[in-house]
């Protein structure tokens, strides 16, 4: 009789452990998905700011067609990019051409003093911070997930539930090197 109760108790305990690990995988997996969509949100926000910026810049710099076109192209590439890797890549490209736009502004005092331009510049800088943070959080989330997958006892449950390690978001080459600004 007592033995029966003990076995029943153990069974319940095992079920609880299995469920709790299932939940942990689900929670950490969701966190990765959420942080991924957060990157998307911030990238989109940046892409949305660019047309306004270009309008302002165009008004002051009639002869800088190439740079404007570069930014427009980079923005298009960002919008049309499919998966997160290519998005991040396109974003890095956009970031470097944007830097040359702001460097360009140094030659146009009127543009530099334009409140709209300043506002956009600030806004883009904030968005850039947020993009960096969202990527950092994405990698942090992957780290927690992978730790659960690879350390005991999580690795045991990962095998049962078919969970595998996920890949980090790579830092692009352009971010490691200081950006070269050409005029």
């Amino acid at each position: 009789m007592t033995a029966g109760w003990i076995i029943a108790g153990l069974f319940v305990l095992i079920v609880i452990i299995f469920l709790s690990y299932f939940n942990r995988f689900a929670i950490l997996g969701n966190r990765i998905d959420n942080s991924l969509s957060q990157i998307d949100v911030q990238l989109k926000r940046r892409a949305d700011l660019i047309p306004n910026l270009l309008e302002t810049v165009k008004g002051y710099t009639k002869h800088e067609k190439t740079i404007i076109k570069e930014v427009t192209d980079a923005r298009k590439a960002l919008i049309s990019a499919g998966n997160i890797e290519s998005k991040v890549k396109a974003n890095d490209k956009l970031e470097s051409v944007l830097k040359s736009v702001f460097a360009l502004a140094e030659n146009y005092p009127d543009l530099k003093a334009n409140t709209n331009f300043l506002e956009l510049q600030k806004e883009l800088a904030t968005t850039e911070d947020k993009i960096a943070y969202s990527r950092q959080y994405y990698n942090d989330s992957i780290l927690s997930y992978n730790m659960l997958c690879t350390t005991f006892p999580g690795t045991f449950f990962a095998g049962i539930y078919g969970k595998k390690k996920r890949d980090y978001l790579q830092i692009a080459e352009s971010e490691r090197k200081p950006v070269k600004v050409s005029f």
Partner: protein
């Protein structure tokens, strides 16, 4: 890294458990106070007073649990900050940090004070508030301010805010109530009542309790801050990945020579980023020590 994360989870559950224990002990203390009061003054109304004190303490717990952040904010007279308002950088920085930490956006406040300081409060991350002083917004640069705000979000994420605010509000209130009790006893012993022995004993207990309460407050406040500040500093670095920001802010606080802020209630001092009362160095670890730990990161 994983160790840190596990510690973080541990911290959360420890704070939740401690909050429950705290609330339960506050309940017991209030009921005990009611018991003593009823014996000391009106033994005839024992049950009425006991029932009253039980209802009172439950109500007190519920009110302080759900409103502790509002009480803390009200006690420093802070103003709410919105996205469109004047403090754009402040708002943007916190928004960026919520992305870095995965926490929901707290309500933001600014309080009038020339000191560089900040605190966070609330019962959980969804109902959290962050408040900084005008002095901090003026004197700190962007990276330093970000370090301080990330420190506060560290308190939010670890549920320090729940426990610390509960301690500040509840225990702070107990000390006030017991002080009132002590004062009324003072008056009573001045009169020519019949001093039966039973009454005298309970008056004695009442006095002891009332003297003990502020001491308990003192020790509880000592216990809550020190380790938490270090771990919140660590979370800050985890979110910003930039120790020099926080170090810069701490150095500026160390160098600034502001007079103590009279508006800040002593009970909520442990909530703050840096001790608002310089001469009472006990509620916070020494700034030098915090800088030293950060520089090793």
């Amino acid at each position: 890294m994983e160790n840190q994360r596990i510690n973080f989870d541990d911290q959360i559950s420890r704070n939740k458990v401690k909050s429950v224990i705290l609330m339960f002990s506050v309940f017991l203390i209030v009921v005990l106070l009611g018991y003593v009061i009823s014996y000391a003054f009106e033994p005839g109304y024992f049950f009425t007073i006991m029932i009253f004190s039980i209802i009172f303490s439950i109500g007190y717990l519920l009110i302080s649990y759900y409103n502790s952040d509002k009480i803390a904010i009200a006690s420093v007279g802070a103003k709410e900050v919105r996205r469109e308002g004047d403090y754009r950088q402040y708002y943007d920085l916190v928004e960026g940090l919520t992305i870095a930490s995965g926490l929901p956006m707290p309500k933001l406040y600014v309080m009038r004070s020339n000191q560089i300081n900040a605190f966070a409060s609330g019962r959980d991350p969804k109902h959290s508030v962050v408040c900084v002083t005008e002095g901090a917004l003026e004197k700190l640069d962007k990276k330093e301010l970000e370090g301080v705000l990330a420190h506060e979000l560290g308190h939010v994420g670890s549920y320090d805010i729940r426990y610390m605010t509960l301690v500040a509000v509840m225990v702070g209130m107990i000390s006030i109530i017991s002080e009132i009790f002590l004062r009324s006893l003072w008056f009573k012993s001045g009169g020519n009542d019949d001093n039966s022995k039973g009454n005298a004993i309970f008056i004695l207990i009442g006095v002891v309790l009332a003297i003990l309460a502020p001491i308990v407050v003192y020790f509880v406040q000592l216990a809550i801050s020190r380790k938490r500040e270090f771990s919140a500093d660590a979370s800050s670095v985890k979110f910003t990945r930039y120790p020099p920001g926080l170090i810069g802010a701490l150095k500026k606080i160390k160098e600034e020579n502001q007079p103590r802020d009279k508006k800040i209630n002593k009970a909520i001092a442990p909530l703050f980023f840096a001790n608002p009362f310089k001469e009472l160095g006990s509620t916070h670890p020494a700034i030098e020590k915090r800088i030293e730990v950060l520089e090793r990161m």
